[in-house]
Amino acid sequence: MTDLTDTLAVPLDLRAKRTWRSVKSVIMTGLMTAAVIAVAVPLVAVVVAVVSRGARVVVRGFPAFFIAEIPLVGRRPGPGMGPAILGTLLSTGAATLIAVPLGVLGAVYLNEYGGKRRFARLVRFMSNVMTGVPSIVMGLFIYVTWTLRFGYSAFGGALALGCLMLPVVIGASEQMLRLVPDHLREASYAVGSSKSRTILAVVLPAAMPGIVSGSLLAVARAAGETAPLLFAVGAASAYNPNLFREANTALSIQIFSNATSSFVAAQDRAWGAALTLMLLTFIITLAARVVTARFARRR
């Protein structure tokens, strides 16, 4: 019997050989790394700029910066973005209450009932078109149809933001509903459930995490919108807790008006407001993630 190890006397070389393929691999890896850096640089730069200039203002005026009213005279230094925070929360919150239920219901119709029907196709098309409408046009629309009749209010801003959010919510929700596998629907039908119960008890819960994060992206985007609010909300400097009456304000509006001011004090406040807005969206996103995770774990 021959010793099999003899045939392997020459050590086996399993190292990768330098071929054109391996060179290509190195080049492509380098290109991808460069692309990642190119994407990350502006992102990091924005965060650094806002935090470094905004933190000084916010910390020096803490906690007054988040509470005090906005100084009427721009050149006066000192804190105050409270009304803007409230205004942003009011108009964004109301917009969410308008757009998310409507959008989710619309998506349920499109995916579960409409399908390829002509009306559903029309709605889907119009919703896609609406996604492309510039926010300033939406602001103008609300200005003409609402603000000219009822005056400035946070609610007008909420309408404009809601119109902007609606197609985003519809699109994201429909996508998520489409991802729910058909075998779950069939399982529900197979035990004698009606269509409505199947949607409420199986399809929507399965799609919920995706719908929540999709809706939250829309909320975060809306919170930073400026143009439609300029038309509809006005620019108050005092607290206005009434959603439906009198001019209100918002962080984005204050950033715009303070940053374009020639006074250093106002510019500082703009940076502070920018940081506040960033924190606010960050908190909203984080909260939603936590809620979604808990939601997902329970089932």
Partner: protein, 300 residues
């Protein structure tokens, strides 16, 4: 050739023209395995059934009767229409766009595809277990209790009792009784399939349809499901689609062999029923050559 040339069931038994009527067969030809009741109530009566997907005729000329408290197996090569016919029984084709069922399909005394028939009502009586275990992404308890709400059963203690009874019937209770609130997705494939069976029998259907329930499972899990099916036969009528001839031989009382043939009308392959008889006859003395070729492994 055609199904009509052969009696659909064992020799000597004439299908009773009145559905839902108990037929007492002559005792000398009763060759069912022990444990099966002697009454032969017709549960499903099919005559000239065909299913279309759009313009395509997927299966044609199915004439057969399915009897109460028996396990009926559908075997045949892929594309022969076994699953398509099975999905007619609980109107699952309703959710497939373009699917159309023609011919007669009677469930006891009711025509299943009559215009006023509610698919939801049908499915409460005729449950289904699918090829891939498909538990809901909910807790084990909620999975079993899911169908009860549609039936109007909401009482806490009543639901608890039904959940336990169903899990016991599905031979899963001992494995999950300490973690009823845990996610069903954490169970193994075989356990998930037994959970799906528990979910189906929780609503107390008369018929349980099974669409290749073991094709995603290993032999051990398969054996458990087969054992379970034999136990469930006493209380339910079971129709099972299987790719596995040995499985049909092991568990079923009757076997229907389907195959594909070129449909002269559409020049496409379409499925049809070749032979339907007691499982013993199908495997021991098939009358059709195609059945014999299939079960001896020379085709398909």
């Amino acid at each position: 050739m055609a199904v009509h040339d052969q009696p659909g069931i064992g020799p000597g038994i004439q299908p009773d023209p009145r559905p839902g009527i108990v037929i007492q067969p002559p005792p000398e030809i009763d060759d069912r395995p022990p444990g099966v009741g002697l009454d032969r109530t017709t549960v499903f009566d099919l005559e000239g059934l065909a299913v279309y997907y759009g313009e395509f005729r997927a299966v044609r000329d199915v004439t057969m009767q399915i009897f109460k408290n028996e396990i009926t197996a559908f075997i045949g090569p892929s594309g022969c229409g076994k699953t398509t016919v099975l999905r007619c029984f609980n109107r699952m084709h309703d959710v497939t766009p373009g699917a159309r069922v023609v011919g007669q399909l009677r469930y006891h005394t009711a025509e299943l595809y009559a215009p006023h028939v509610s698919a939801t009502e049908v499915r409460r009586r005729i449950g289904m277990v699918f090829q891939k275990p498909n538990p809901f992404p909910k807790s084990i308890y909620d999975n079993v209790a899911f169908g009860l709400r549609s039936k109007g059963i909401r009482g806490r203690s009543e639901v608890d009792a039904i959940v336990e009874r169903s899990l016991r019937s599905a031979a899963l209770w001992d494995e999950v009784k300490d973690r009823l609130r845990a996610s069903a997705l954490g169970l193994s494939g075989g356990q998930q399939q037994r959970l799906c069976i528990a979910r189906t029998i929780a609503v107390d259907p008369e018929v349980v349809l099974m669409d290749e329930p073991c094709s995603a499972l290993d032999p051990v899990a398969t054996a458990r499901i087969e054992e379970l099916m034999r136990e469930l036969r006493a209380a339910y009528t079971i129709v099972i689609v299987t790719h596995n001839m040995q499985q049909a031989g092991r568990v079923s009382d009757r076997t229907a062999f389907f195959t594909t043939e070129v449909d002269s009308k559409f020049a496409r392959r379409t499925g049809t029923l070749v032979e339907y008889d007691t499982t013993h006859n199908i495997f021991a003395k098939p009358r059709d050559q195609r059945t014999e070729r299939y079960i001896t492994g020379r085709f398909g």
